[in-house]
């Protein structure tokens, strides 16, 4: 295994751990607002790690690397909007 492959494997492992912990958080937490906080790492951290891994595998200027980074950018850019709007919904529906 070359150094580049090792870095790709490490990035993927980190991404999978992030996703697993985020999904566990969504399940384990009690209220919708608490669960919503775990969408952040899922939408912002994991896609960036995977995007970097794809870019390392193919190069940034190749179609695949650029697309993966673009997907990461789209998800990271819209995730706060999603959190804000869904947070307003959860807050409006909160039990007193």
């Amino acid at each position: 295994m070359s150094a580049r492959e090792a870095v790709i494997a490490a990035l993927l492992l980190l991404a999978v751990v992030t996703v697993a912990l985020s999904c566990t958080g969504v399940l384990v937490m009690r209220t919708p607002l608490q669960r919503l906080h775990y969408l952040g790492p899922l939408a912002m951290v994991a896609p960036v790690l995977i995007g970097i891994a794809v870019a390392l595998a193919h190069g940034v200027y190749a179609g695949a690397g650029l697309k993966a980074l673009f997907i990461a950018l789209v998800l990271a850019a819209f995730a706060p909007v999603l959190s804000h709007q869904t947070g307003q919904l959860a807050d409006a529906r909160r039990e007193p």
């Binding site: 993927l12 899922l42 896609p47 995977i50 997907i71 709007q85 869904t86 307003q88 919904l89 529906r93």
Partner: protein, 83 residues
Amino acid sequence: MNVWLLASAALLLCLVPCTVGVVRGTSADRLVALAAATLVCVLALLTIEQGLERQSFFDLSLAMAVLAIPSTLLFARFYRRWL
């Protein structure tokens, strides 16, 4: 079997807690779990494409990424306003 397909398998396993979240709790709880499941699917498609070396999956994951968050947003706004 390569490292990408291993990652895909692990990501697909992460859909299990999301699915449990979608079938339990209030509508807001389910919406959050659904958003999580959608994001996991986008990431799984990305890694599956790399593992199988199929370029067409990339366009699918790109379309899903662009559509997933606005669709959840629309549903949240609709639910908050009308239901």
